[in-house]
């Protein structure tokens, strides 16, 4: 029997490791480098864009129905499967066996996949229809060269 004093502790999944700067100059020999007190690790785009390493996948966007949200054909989407999708999130959803990228909107019992481009139609899911969200899009990247 579960009582109120039993609580399940959940592990923090895939938290970033703490990186400590390496002080490289040896003691005593000559002048220490004046930069030693200011050494910090170099910035990593992975750390910036990825919160949960094990559940983050890269997905290629195809088409322009999300242009209004800044997602264009060929963009690289960073998708975190571990996040619980909320209304207003941009998500990857499964529609007719294909992955699609849309904004998730929930109003009462109706869930809508909303494109961000007036040329495209919304997809509505009413009660009884199951919507499978594959992951939550956390950022998008674009290469110019």
């Amino acid at each position: 029997m579960l009582t109120s004093q039993h609580t399940i502790m959940q592990p923090a999944i895939g938290l970033k490791p703490i990186r400590l700067p390496l002080f490289s100059s040896t003691v005593a020999a000559g002048f220490p480098s004046p930069a030693d007190d200011y050494i910090e690790s170099r910035l990593s785009l992975d750390e910036h864009l990825i919160q949960h390493r094990d559940s983050t996948f890269f997905v290629r966007a195809k088409g322009n129905s999300m242009a209004g949200a800044g997602i264009f054909d060929g963009d690289l989407l960073v998708v975190d499967k571990s996040l619980n999708p909320k209304s207003g999130d941009i998500v990857i959803a499964v529609v007719d066996g294909d992955l699609t990228v849309k904004r998730l909107i929930q109003r009462g019992d109706t869930v809508t996949l909303k494109p961000e481009n007036p040329k495209f139609k919304e997809i509505e899911f009413k009660d009884g229809q199951e919507l499978v969200v594959w992951g939550v899009v956390t950022s998008t990247t674009k290469k110019f060269i």
């Binding site: 999944i13 390493r53 094990d54 997905v59 290629r60 088409g63 499967k81 992955l99 990228v101 495209f120």
Partner: protein, 425 residues
């Protein structure tokens, strides 16, 4: 020590389904190297009665009738997803033993026994949400029982929620379940054991659990007697956290078409030796002997049959050229004219860490350094330009001996050019 065995359901099929949702609810098999036999089956395929290891050509008719989708094995994909699943699972316990590509033990010592079942559910839902892979969890006092609990969780013998905690069952409930499971389903009980156990009247897990350990020890082995103890809640097999270094490296394939002449066989053997040597360097090991084998096709009963292997010892090395040399020398010894060969393979043995290598009296250190440099350059080029870009002449220069994997899915997570696509059109 309560512990959990977490095992992925139909792992290879599940990996494929994560990136191709159209495969959901459809019968899917994943075939072994060279598209030979079924190595993973979806629940729908299991329901059709297709057994593990069944050759593809034998199920082709059934496949057509039921629309079974067959895929070549995509080990880059499975390897990456496995690493993700194992990393997530490692957060659930301070001690983890990764037992295979799709299963691991977690130590649950010190956890509140009342909460274990719910903890199992949390493990399941976390892995499912984070990776898309369904898993089952078996919880018990010993490794052998945890394996069995996992089996029960998968088959729904004790509830249908994918978690089975033997600690929650009464002795009577347990005995009842054990009486319905054949003894062959126990971890460590092989086919030969099963046959002999049956002659002694031991048919079910319950028969086996209640057998006298002394009797099992005298008639079988101390190992099997330990299994009986483990079934009685006495832990005999420790959790093994360290990954033991590989003892052997095997590379072998069946040919798509049979091969009869020595030149063709030599090229394939050189190709497998090359692959084996790459694995060896990846592990930072050296080998000191190899076994090479060739055989004809046992399924073509009208053809003359031949099978032979030989062990070739050599100075410890990780150099592709030396390993090819030894493999080809071995092949020459065992090759006979007049047979249609179906399969060859190279097994590297006597593996040691490279640092601990014994130098022979007449070795020249410079030649070692030269060989190391050559291999480093070769590996670097092949990593960057793709496998097989730089190879030895002996392996033929062509990819004729590369695996046949016609139905392979893209490398969704390990190749920038093969990422999954989300449509927004």
């Amino acid at each position: 020590m309560p512990l959990a065995l977490v095992d992925c359901n139909n792992f290879y099929v599940s990996c494929e389904r994560v990136f191709n949702p159209k495969l959901e609810g459809v019968p899917v098999v994943v075939l072994s190297n060279n598209d030979g036999c079924a190595v993973a089956r979806s629940a729908e395929v299991k329901a059709l009665g297709i057994k593990m290891g069944e050759p593809w050509f034998k199920m082709k008719d059934l496949a057509k009738r039921h629309g079974i989708i067959a895929l070549s094995s995509n080990y880059s994909l499975y390897g990456d997803i496995s690493a993700r699943v194992m990393s997530i699972l490692s957060n659930f316990s301070p001690k983890q033993e990764i037992y295979s590509i799709d299963e691991c033990f977690l130590d649950l010592e010190g956890f509140d026994p009342i909460l274990l079942h719910q903890y199992g559910q949390t493990i399941r839902s976390t892995v499912r949400q984070s990776t898309g892979i369904p898993v089952c969890v078996g919880i018990a006092e010993t490794k052998t029982l945890a394996k069995l609990a996992n089996h029960c969780a998968k088959k729904g013998f004790a509830g249908n929620d994918g978690v089975c905690d033997f600690g929650r069952l009464s002795d009577a409930e347990r005995s009842k379940i054990f009486s319905s499971i054949p003894v062959s389903d126990v971890w460590g009980v092989g086919r030969k054991h099963t046959e002999k156990l049956l002659t002694l009247g031991i048919k079910t897990v319950e028969d086996f659990r209640t057998a006298k350990p002394d009797r099992i020890r005298s008639q079988f082995s101390i190992v099997l007697a330990r299994t009986v103890q483990e079934l009685n809640n006495v832990p005999c097999i420790e959790l093994d956290e360290a990954v033991a270094p590989r003892q052997q490296i095997m590379v072998s394939r069946s040919f798509g078409q049979c091969v009869s002449n020595l030149a063709d066989l030599s090229a394939s053997v050189a190709y497998y030796a090359t692959t084996a040597a790459e694995k060896l360097r990846h592990d930072r090991s050296v080998a000191s002997s190899l076994c090479i084998f060739i055989r004809t096709n046992p399924f073509s009963e009208k053809e003359p049959q031949y099978e032979k292997s030989v062990v070739v010892p050599f100075q410890p090395t990780d150099d592709t050229t030396k390993i090819i040399g030894a493999a080809l020398a071995g092949l020459k010894q065992i090759y006979r004219v007049g047979f249609q060969y179906k399969k060859t393979g190279v097994l590297l043995m006597g593996l040691h860490p490279k640092g601990a290598m014994q130098i022979s009296l007449f070795d020249e250190p410079e030649s070692h350094a030269k060989s190391d440099n050559l291999m480093q350059v070769m590996d670097a080029i092949n990593r960057k330009m793709g496998k097989g870009s730089l190879t030895t002449l002996a392996s033929g220069g062509v990819h004729r001996w590369a695996m046949r994997r016609e139905k392979m899915s893209p490398n969704f997570t390990t190749d920038w050019d093969e990422l999954p696509v989300a449509f927004s059109n």
